[in-house]
């Protein structure tokens, strides 16, 4: 037991120190984990043998990652991106794989090995690139968007690769492994339902398993989640999410399919579900930690002996790969009309190998596709190319971008129609109307509510909404608060609304927060918490009804409109004073005597403004359209008329 604690502690300490440091130096978290692994493994030697065992466990992080990738793949979004995805992404993958494979063949590798190496290096690092784009604000540029579609295609392409690679197994490696296995002990055999079946039955079982996954995911998950969600116990939802992912992984292994493929499919099936964001935010921490662990074990497994021995070769390969990948990407830019500085951003940002490279490497070794020593060498190349990525971004920013400075004005003009998305927290009576107005204007909204009945009801009338508690930071994150322009807070719970405003204004100062207040006191609390815009839920509708009442009593509609506007204006103008009085709570009582006095004053002001007559020249309310005093024209007559210039011409039709 003590031993486990100690080991877990070492891994965690390494991650806690290395990852924040790596991020501070602009290297990204993946590199942080790798460096942590290198330090505790080959450098200090704190961990050793057990890393390969832990790595098997940590690979489950990859399975979870693919589940999350699947969750984020909305069919609609994929369809909209289909040209770039298939064209740009497909061509990149094809050309890079082909080029790398050709070079590997030239150096005398077997064709299956060369092909595998090609696949490994065709992938780029989604984690590093997307993070860097976010940090540097490049996501919305043309280059950034195209890079995203290539990365997305690569992430999807990993699935068939994982399914396909075992077929490339080298007979001699398999034989070796089998010998070793029989020597070790035969009882360690994997559990399998399909080991003894004839091929046709095997195929049937596989099809059936996938069928169960898709149909079950579609029809059974919803009642299950609804049942769990209605219990209101949050950790049980987390348990359900984990149960789902682990269960699918188990089912897939039992029938001899890739667990990653299974969870990916399950993710895609659930991508349209109202539980999507909640699921994602529950799985995310596990995924992140396990992936981190995976990268640490990769780092810990790096053999420095190989690095020093073949330093020249490894450096040469790394640079070669970067140049080759960048060239392929540059070649594609004219075809897809990616111009100017975006072209370079696109090519340089995707020139490294990626974290999936590690995944494929360890997977290929397990499946006897690549010999272990070669995989060691290649994983060094992958790691080095990732470490050079920040350098490529710096090259882009310092050297290439300044040369295209002149085009910046044009680019800004291009982006005007990008309004950004809006997160609406709480879709009760209030949030619904907000959402309807925004959606009707084609504004992208993400609607969240923690009441499953509410979400159900909205889904029934085709309003896409998600189950989840918006006050939870991780859920806000999966709902996309980082990229959102606005957050609308319209939740029924007053206190959590204030908490949410406070949290968002503190953590994401750039996001504008618009909040619904129940009453005056709530409005002040929201204002105190930093909300940018506040509407009291009753004020405007009550004013409308009051105006209707006045019209029923025979007041002229336009006059009523004026009075209403005057009321609104004075109310708005006095809100600062009242807020100041409320905030000054030296007496310990928010609505103290001073406040009450001010409120009574406000009522008096409004009454006085309403009563003003149009004869009063300085009337507040009816100041407009005040006619000049009777007989004023005689006064004007006394004045010398000014000559018009040029002298009046005769105006004739």
């Amino acid at each position: 037991m003590t031993n486990y604690f100690l080991q877990a502690f070492i891994y965690l300490v390494a991650a806690v120190i290395a990852v924040p440091l790596a991020r501070r130096f602009g290297l990204g978290s993946v590199l942080g984990y790798l460096i942590a692994g290198v330090v505790i493994g080959p450098v200090i030697g704190l961990v050793g043998e057990e890393t390969s065992v832990i790595q098997h466990f940590a690979e489950f992080g990859v399975v979870m990652m693919l589940f999350v990738v699947g969750l984020e793949l909305e069919p609609k979004m994929l369809w909209a991106m289909r040209n770039r995805l298939m064209g740009l992404g497909g061509l990149q993958l094809l050309l890079t794989t082909g080029a790398v494979m050709a070079i590997a063949l030239y150096f005398g590798q077997q064709s299956s090995i060369a092909f595998t190496i090609g696949l490994i290096f065709a992938l780029s690092s989604t984690a590093i690139v997307l993070q860097t784009f976010n940090e540097k604000g490049l996501s919305r540029t043309d280059g950034g968007r195209n890079a995203f579609s290539v990365l997305l295609f690569q992430d999807i392409a990993v699935i068939p690769m994982l399914a396909f690679i075992p077929l490339l197994a080298l007979p001699e490696l398999v034989e070796q492994a089998q010998q070793a296995a029989t020597q070790m002990a035969a009882q360690h055999e994997e559990m399998s339902l399909v080991a003894d079946l004839p091929p046709w039955a095997y195929a049937m079982v596989m099809v059936a398993a996938i069928g169960i996954l898709v149909v079950g995911g579609h029809y059974l998950s919803r009642p299950l989640f609804r049942f769990v969600a209605s219990s209101g116990v949050r950790e049980i939802f987390t348990a359900t999410a984990l149960m789902l992912v682990i269960g699918i992984a188990a089912l897939m292994s039992l029938v001899g399919l890739s667990p990653a493929l299974g969870t990916f499919l399950a993710g895609v099936v659930l991508a349209n579900s109202e539980f999507r964001h909640e699921l994602e935010s529950n799985i995310d921490p596990f995924k992140g930690l396990l992936l981190g662990l995976f990268f640490i074990t990769v780092g810990a497994g790096i053999d420095f002996g190989i690095l020093w021995q073949d330093l020249g070769l490894i450096l040469g390969l790394t640079l070669g790969i970067i140049v080759l990948k960048a060239l392929v990407l540059l070649l594609l830019t004219p075809v897809f009309k990616i111009g100017q500085s975006d072209r370079w951003l696109f090519a340089l940002s995707l020139a490294q190998a990626g974290e999936f490279g590690f995944v494929l490497l360890s997977f290929t070794v397990q499946n006897h596709v690549l010999p272990g020593e070669l995989a060691q060498l290649l994983s060094l190349v992958v790691a080095l190319s990732m470490m050079l990525t920040p350098g490529l971004f710096i090259l882009f920013e310092r050297v290439i971008e300044p040369r295209y400075c002149t085009s910046e004005a044009e680019r800004e003009a291009d982006n005007i129609d990008e309004h950004g998305s809006v997160i609406i927290a709480g879709v009760g009576r209030f949030g619904q109307v907000v959402n309807r107005l925004l959606s009707a204007n084609g504004i992208k909204t993400v609607v969240l509510d923690h009441q499953i009945s509410q979400v159900d009801m909205l889904r029934r009338i085709n309003v896409k909404s998600y189950f989840g508690d918006a006050t939870r930071p991780d859920l806000l994150h999966t709902a996309g608060i980082e990229e959102a322009a606005l957050l609308v807070v319209a939740m029924d719970n007053r206190d959590s609304a204030v908490e949410l405003v406070k949290y968002v204004k503190h953590t994401y100062p750039k996001v504008k927060v618009l909040a619904r207040a129940f009453d005056r006191g709530h409005a002040y609390l929201l204002r105190d918490a930093g909300a940018d815009f506040i509407q009291k839920e009753t004020l405007l509708s009550a004013l409308e009804l009051g105006a209707d009442a006045m019209k029923c009593l025979g007041f002229h509609p336009f006059h009523v409109e004026q009075q209403k506007n005057t009321f609104k204006r004075i109310e708005k103008r006095s809100s600062d004073t009242l807020y100041g009085a409320w905030k000054d709570d030296s007496s310990g009582e928010r609505f103290d005597n001073n406040y009450r006095k001010l409120f009574i004053e406000l009522e008096e002001t409004i009454k006085a403004a309403m009563a003003r007559d149009r004869n009063d020249k300085y009337a507040m309310s009816e100041r407009g359209w005040t006619p000049p005093p009777k007989g004023y024209d005689e006064l004007l007559d006394g004045e010398e008329p000014q000559p018009l210039r040029p002298p009046e011409e005769e105006i004739k039709p």
């Binding site: 100041r623 359209w625 005093p629 006064l635």
Partner: protein, 205 residues
Amino acid sequence: MSEQQQAVLLLLAHPSQHRSEVNLPLFELAKTIPGVTTVDLYGEYPEFDIDIEREQQRLLAHDVVIFQFPLYWYSTPAILKEWQDLVLEYGFAYGTDGNALKGKRFFCAITAGGKEEAYQAEGYNHFTLRQLLAPLEQTASLTGMRYLPPFALFGARTAVEDGLMALHLKEWRELLTALVAGKLNRRLAAKLEKLNGHLDQIITG
């Protein structure tokens, strides 16, 4: 000719700015010129509840007043008429004590859909633009403001396609800069049919 720094107030009235091809670029350009205060009337008063006091203070603080608008039915868009009805009060802009605007300069920056030939006695609009703006010219006269002819772009619907924008924007910048610097010869300018096309004659020094 005063060569002091002049404060310029530009009031834009354009109700459908998401469709604007000419007025918005003009307005955006004006924002970048020091000494010019820009006001988007439809933006500030979307419900037409014009703040009379604030608008009068604005007038008092400036030496040159410009109405910028697309010509709607030979006149201003509604909010600019509302603005006049409300802000140009008796006792402020006219009447016995109504001297607040005396001596300020006033003109309109207009975009018109029709070609310049249409705005002629023989054209299908029958009046020149300056003739059509007679109510505004007389308003300036009654309030004691010095009236200047309009800065006008004809054929504005296809100005972008016809490549007229570059020149128009350039002249707009020159005009505003000259106004701020107090380098516009009012006497020469007042006789013209429109300000643009003649800037080299009316800008001094």
